[in-house]
């Protein structure tokens, strides 16, 4: 019990510290007390710049991190597989491709981007499920199928961008994830859909817990396994799709965070899901803040940093399997 409490406290404190640090560091610098004072000072021009440029970026990073991590937990529960991650198994790239493809032909549908991304993610998720179902969703098979699906959608997206050339001016933001130039509009998109997804995930915790039972045992309790799987997977896809729309494809978050979270707070999804959301938010904000400060004025995208940490971590997990 105390371990859980300590873990939550540490993550929340780190989160607050990182938020303040991220807000006050960069080309405009501010001390902590100056920042706190400026928060309530409408006339401060430096604060205006921070408010318009850094706050959206920070909020997007927080929500994208939380959404991707929770999506990882849900996928792992649905597929009963510790290696499932929306980025690694192609759900994010599926979302990215479908969104890009349809918007290019029907620019008028731009307002429906989140829905399109959801459809793309759902398609990729269904493909991975169908193709690895026969092997009983064995972790290794699922990863192999997922990597193939991911490669396919990433390839399609890249080919499409090459062919389209000047047609897609905004396309590059879809494949490489970069959190620069996020606006309050992006914030409202990710906060709206992200909150829906996160709240839904929290209410599904007991179903996630029941999915640790074998299917036939769960069924014998009168538990509708198929319905639960479908709903949890849908929420997972929603969460990853919405972060693709606003923050681009970021892999490995959904793998790394839940794994560490289970070690700290255990396997009960009632605790695991909220903790994962907080820890994921922290991780992406840290990655993004490091990325934009370490070689300033150049920037390393958060997705690149995650890939550098995440790749070795996946190898580590595969060796343990």
């Amino acid at each position: 019990m105390t371990k859980k409490l300590v873990s939550f406290t540490i993550v929340i404190v780190l989160l607050l510290v990182t938020v303040v640090y991220a807000a006050t560091t960069g080309s405009i610098k501010m001390g902590f007390f100056e920042f706190i004072g400026a928060l309530f000072d409408k006339g401060n021009s430096q604060m205006e710049a921070i408010r318009d440029l850094r706050f959206p970026r920070i909020i997007v990073a927080l929500f994208a991190g939380a959404a991707l991590s929770v999506s990882g937990v849900l996928l792992q529960s649905v597929m009963r597989n510790p290696l499932a991650d929306a980025g690694v198994i192609g759900i994010s790239s599926g979302a990215a491709f479908v969104q890009l493809f349809i918007i290019s032909f029907f620019p008028a549908l731009f307002f429906m981007t989140p829905v399109l991304a959801f459809m793309g993610g759902a398609m990729a998720c269904a493909l991975v499920f169908a193709l690895s179902w026969k092997s009983g969703l064995s972790p290794l098979k699922l990863i192999l199928v997922g990597i193939a699906i991911n490669a396919m959608f990433t390839g399609l997206t890249e080919a499409f961008i090459s062919l389209g050339g000047s047609l897609n001016t905004s396309a590059s933001s879809v494949i490489g994830s970069n959190l620069t130039m996020r606006t309050w509009k992006d914030v409202s998109t990710i906060v709206t859909y992200g909150s829906v997804g996160l709240v839904a995930a929290l209410t599904l915790y007991s179903w996630c817990n029941l999915l640790v039972l074998q299917d036939k045992t769960a069924k014998s309790l009168g538990f509708n396994v198929a319905r639960a799987r479908l709903l949890i997977a849908a929420v997972a896809v929603l969460l990853s799709a919405i972060s693709v729309v606003v923050a681009g494809v970021i892999s490995f978050v959904g793998l790394l965070v839940p794994h560490i979270a289970r070690r700290l707070v255990g396997y009960d999804h009632k605790v695991l899901i909220p903790f994962t959301a907080l820890a994921g938010a922290l991780l992406i904000l840290v990655a993004d803040t490091i990325g934009r400060t370490i070689v300033a004025p150049l920037e390393i995208p958060a997705s690149t940093i995650m890939a550098i940490i995440g790749g070795p971590f996946l190898i580590f997990l595969l060796r343990k399997e």
Partner: protein
């Protein structure tokens, strides 16, 4: 429970159950036995609705199984499978509480009744003192009892057990069968189980269903069903039968 003309085929090339008709008596211990691949586990899975028959009907209390809602059925019949994955980081009590699922909905739960049922299930299986222990730390015999406790928490009238003793050593086998006997005698549970050991079946059953190649060969009280001739015919094994005051009827296989 009435079982009528059940035909089941897993692969459409042969019938794994080929026109099985029988009835399960309420309040009795019924054991299904037979050689490997004879369809005994399949029959149990049809009765527990885990396997849908190609044709035929199973009805419980004059209602066809297909007409039961899944939670409604889970209140009537609970089943413990032979092998279960052991989830990580789960206490005995938590797992047993899953058995309350059919009695609750997402919005409505009766905590008091849940607690009572869980306590009862843990008491029956002698796990009260270990309720807060982790599943992973238990022995094979204890784990099997935990799964039974979960099924008991469903508070169903019928309890099905699929080869409950197969992976246990002799001490835990007996302990488990004594538990089954107690559940039947003291708590009026109807028991349907699949066993491999013929002597255990004789000793612990009121009613035996002997199967071979998808058919029921014989059924009835143990001493009528298990005979020298039948064992030779079904298992291809020569055996002698003996009876003594302490052991009752028992069988010793001689050879093939």
């Amino acid at each position: 429970m009435e079982i009528q003309d059940i035909i089941v085929s897993h692969d459409n090339t042969r019938n794994h159950l080929d026109g099985v008709t029988t009835a399960i008596q309420k309040g009795k211990v019924t054991t299904i036995i037979g050689p490997n691949g004879c369809g005994k586990s399949t029959l149990l899975s049809v009765m527990s609705r885990n396997n849908m028959p190609k044709s035929g009907h199973v009805s419980l209390e004059n209602k066809d199984l297909v007409h039961y809602k899944s939670k409604e059925f889970a209140k009537k019949l609970a089943i413990v499978y032979q092998q279960n994955d052991v989830p990580k980081d789960l206490t005995i009590e938590k797992l047993v509480s899953f058995g309350r699922l059919p009695h609750n909905t997402m919005l409505k739960r009766n905590l008091e009744e849940d607690a009572k049922a869980i306590d009862w299930a843990l008491a029956c299986t002698n796990l009260l003192e270990k309720r807060n222990n982790d599943l992973e730390a238990l022995s094979g015999g204890e784990r099997q009892r935990v799964w039974i406790a979960m099924a008991l928490a469903q508070q169903s009238e019928i309890l099905c057990l699929d080869e409950p003793t197969t992976y246990l050593d002799i001490y835990y086998q007996l302990e488990l069968l004594e538990l089954v006997k107690t559940l039947n005698e003291e708590h009026d549970l109807t028991i349907i189980m699949v066993l491999h050991d013929i002597n255990q079946a004789i000793r612990y059953s009121d009613h035996i269903i002997l199967m071979n190649a998808g058919h029921i060969v014989a059924e009835g009280v143990p001493r009528d069903v298990i005979t020298k001739e039948v064992i030779k015919e079904v298992y291809g094994v020569e055996a002698i039968f003996n009876e003594d005051e302490q052991l009752g009827l028992y069988m010793v296989p001689l050879g093939i």
